[in-house]
């Protein structure tokens, strides 16, 4: 089994007041830990405790009601802080022991919270410390971060320690860039990226050096600089837009999460109806796209015969007339006879195989057929073939045109249905906006307004990004062309031959390094693809096997046994499975032998698929210690019984009067 958590000790950390030791060591065959707690009990803060200890940072806000990170609660428990005066402080720590069968590493991070003069709280955290078991005692290590980097560096920790609910947005519209970033994270190619980046900068520097060249080279270099400035601006704008898009999508998810907390049943029903309608629209739009693709193919196949109908009919007519003039044999076709002889079977079905030379009947039949072939008039081969082919070409085209008509009708029907659904969606949105609920329940109307604004924002940003991408490609193409011109100009000038040679050299070197990087990424993509497919088929509850393809552009295809790509129409449960599989694939690829902790792995999936995923969870990332932080809604009795045989430790996070106590279940 992988490296595992043995214990996590929390002292005075947020909801975890006092000192609490959580035992997570997994003996023998069982390797799953489950910590169950309601929302707000401290599941996310447990995940935060781990990353805070290891890396000095927190990223998981799941449980918190605070959207704004600056409004996060102080490190030290409220219970401790309530007794403090301005100028006082209280401290605590997080200690994590890791090891294989026995604990080997003890990482610890202490922290303190001060009360400022105006009664606010300020956190200070200490450096990470490490004690390593050396056989006889715990030795203090002076470079804990070096060890941490070998065990689980921050850059790949996201694939081992994560919130299942964060995965909801992973496969959203712009997911290929998420996939690409993730793969770069685990690829260890930073060395090559750095080198490529530096070579690019050196190239620019050399071009600048040559820019004092007289004549055309100077002018062209000015053009290059202008294009580069334009490119920088566009790329900056694109990055900003992408960040804004990510923020918008995150806000949309938060608004939806708030909506899910509403208690009014009518509103919940409306939300569910809306989600169902959105899924339905998505799948029908996909079906329309598929039908259009099919129809385009049919047009290409049937179009020629349709537009050349008169010519085909004319030609067939000509052959018919040839036949009536005796220029074509009426019934038997020469090529048909050739085929019979080759296949060794007569038109009546009897055997006339050349090999059966001992059989008199067979030999006689063959002789007769050969004689018939010789007797045929010396007719136009074309005519023979054409006579048969042309009518069948027209018939096939007619059938395909009928199919085209059918498809167009299906598309028109689907369009009408989608329009109806969209109208219904609008009605639901209007209803929700106008909803008035009691004060202590969720403000539905205002959430609807927020959601609508955010969705509009998302559409605008997506279009903007698309148009920026086109502009960027255009400028890159112009830049490439202009650089070539510049090179040619430089070559002409003797005194800049040296710089020109250097520029060319740098470009060659950069291309070599780029190729190596691409090659390695390709290897990693292939390995990720294999792992992703394996994990997906392990976790997914369907009987059939899916083929998962990770393309060069980092888009993913999930092909069902019929070869249809399901990526655009996966249900929430299936998307969660794909996301979990992807995380597992990356964890595997990264080469790090670390344990995995997942907060809310089963997210907001409905109960039926949730049960089925739970059933398969014990096979997820075999040989890795898994710790799941689940709500009571996820960790039902059924789920528990399905996972029971693999579970090493179970704990309850009991939240009472502002504090959480971790109670092991027996």
């Amino acid at each position: 089994m992988s490296l595992q958590f043995h214990t996590i000790t929390l002292k005075n950390f947020r909801q975890y007041s006092g000192e609490q030791v959580i035992d997570l060591a997994c003996p023998d065959q069982s390797r799953i830990n489950v910590l169950e707690g309601q929302n707000g009990a401290g599941k996310s803060n447990l995940l935060n405790a781990i990353t805070l200890c290891f890396y000095g940072k927190e990223e998981h806000n799941g449980d918190s009601d605070n959207e704004n990170e600056e409004e996060k609660l102080p490190y030290v428990s409220q219970e401790k802080l309530s007794n403090l005066n301005p100028g006082d402080s209280a401290s605590g720590y997080i200690e994590i022991t890791l090891g294989y069968e026995e604990p080997r590493y003890r990482f610890k991070r202490e922290f303190e919270t001060y009360v400022t003069d105006n009664g606010e709280f300020e956190d200070v955290r200490d450096e990470l410390t490490l004690r390593r078991w050396e056989g006889r005692n715990w030795k203090i290590e002076r470079n804990p971060n070096t060890y941490m980097t070998q065990i689980l560096p921050a850059t790949v920790s996201d694939y081992f320690l994560f919130d299942g609910e964060d995965l909801e947005g992973f496969f959203s519209e712009n997911y290929p860039s998420n996939v690409e970033d993730a793969i770069l994270d685990v690829s260890h190619t930073k060395l090559l990226e750095r080198s490529i980046d530096h070579l690019n900068k050196v190239e620019r520097q050399l071009e600048k050096d040559a820019s004092s060249a007289e004549g055309k080279a100077g002018e062209i270099n000015d053009e290059i600089e202008a294009f580069e400035a334009e490119l920088d601006t566009l790329e900056g704008e694109k990055e900003e837009a992408e960040d804004n898009l990510e923020d918008t999508e995150s806000h949309i998810r938060k608004v939806r999460q708030k909506m899910a907390d509403v208690s009014d049943e009518d509103v919940r029903n409306l939300y569910n109806n809306r989600d169902d309608l959105e899924d339905l629209i998505k799948s029908k739009e996909q079906r329309t796209r598929n039908l259009r693709g099919e129809t385009s193919k049919l047009m290409l196949e049937a179009g020629p015969a349709v537009f050349a109908f008169d010519a085909i009919e004319f030609t067939a007519q000509e052959f018919s007339e040839q036949e009536s003039r005796g220029e074509l044999p009426p019934k038997i076709r020469q090529w048909f006879i050739e085929e019979l002889l080759e296949e060794g079977r007569c038109i009546c079905g009897s055997d006339i195989d050349e090999e059966h030379t001992h059989d008199e009947t067979v030999v006689t039949r063959r002789k007769k057929l050969k004689a018939l072939r010789k007797e045929m008039p010396d007719a136009s081969e074309e005519g023979l073939e054409g006579k048969t082919k042309l009518p069948s070409i027209l018939q096939t085209a007619e059938n395909k045109v009928a199919q085209i008509q059918q498809n167009r009708q299906l598309i028109a029907d689907l369009d009408d249905e989608v329009d109806d659904h969209k109208q219904r969606l609008q009605d639901i949105n209007s209803q929700l906006k106008a909803y008035e609920l009691p004060d202590d329940d969720v403000d539905v109307g205002s959430l609807e307004d927020q959601l609508e604004r955010l969705k509009d924002q998302k559409t605008t940003l997506t279009k903007h990004i698309g148009s920026l991408e086109t502009d960027i490609e255009e400028v890159k193409a112009k830049l490439k062309q202009t650089r070539k011109e510049y090179q040619r100009e430089l070559d002409k000038l003797d005194r800049y031959r040296a710089i020109s040679a250097q520029i060319e050299f740098v470009q060659d070197a950069r291309d070599e390094v780029q190729q190596i990087k691409d090659y390695i990424l390709n290897q990693i993509r292939n390995e990720t693809e294999d792992n992703l497919e394996q994990y997906f088929n392990t976790l997914i509850w369907k009987e059939e096997d899916y083929e998962v393809i990770l393309n060069d552009d980092y888009s993913i295809e999930v092909l069902d046994p019929h070869g249809d790509n399901k990526i655009g129409s996966l249900s929430a449960g299936e998307t969660q499975v794909l996301a979990l599989s992807f995380m597992a694939a990356l964890a595997q690829i990264s080469g790090f032998d670390a344990p995995v902790v997942i907060d809310t792995p089963l997210g907001r999936i409905s109960s039926e698929p949730r049960k089925r995923i739970a059933q398969n969870l014990p096979q997820y990332l075999e040989d890795t210690q898994l710790t799941f932080l689940m709500t009571d809604e996820e960790y039902t009795d059924t789920v528990r019984s399905l996972m029971k045989s693999s579970i090493a430790n179970e704990h309850d996070l009991q939240f009472k009067k502002g504090s959480t106590e971790v109670i092991p279940r027996v």
Binding site: H188, R194, A501, F505, Y519
Partner: protein, 63 residues
Amino acid sequence: MKQEDVNRRITKEVDEIEDDNIRQFIQEALAFERSKMDRDQPHFKQDYRRLLKEYVDIESEDQ
């Protein structure tokens, strides 16, 4: 892929570069980069220009 596997792969691919000058230049450039991996924005221009002077031969037929 583990870091050491990637490193081995990089070494193997670099070894296969046919042009001697380019290969040796890249080997030195990567060695330089390895020495600066722990820094966020290391200085590099001087080192790269020095390497270029060493390896770019404008008299050579190869260029």
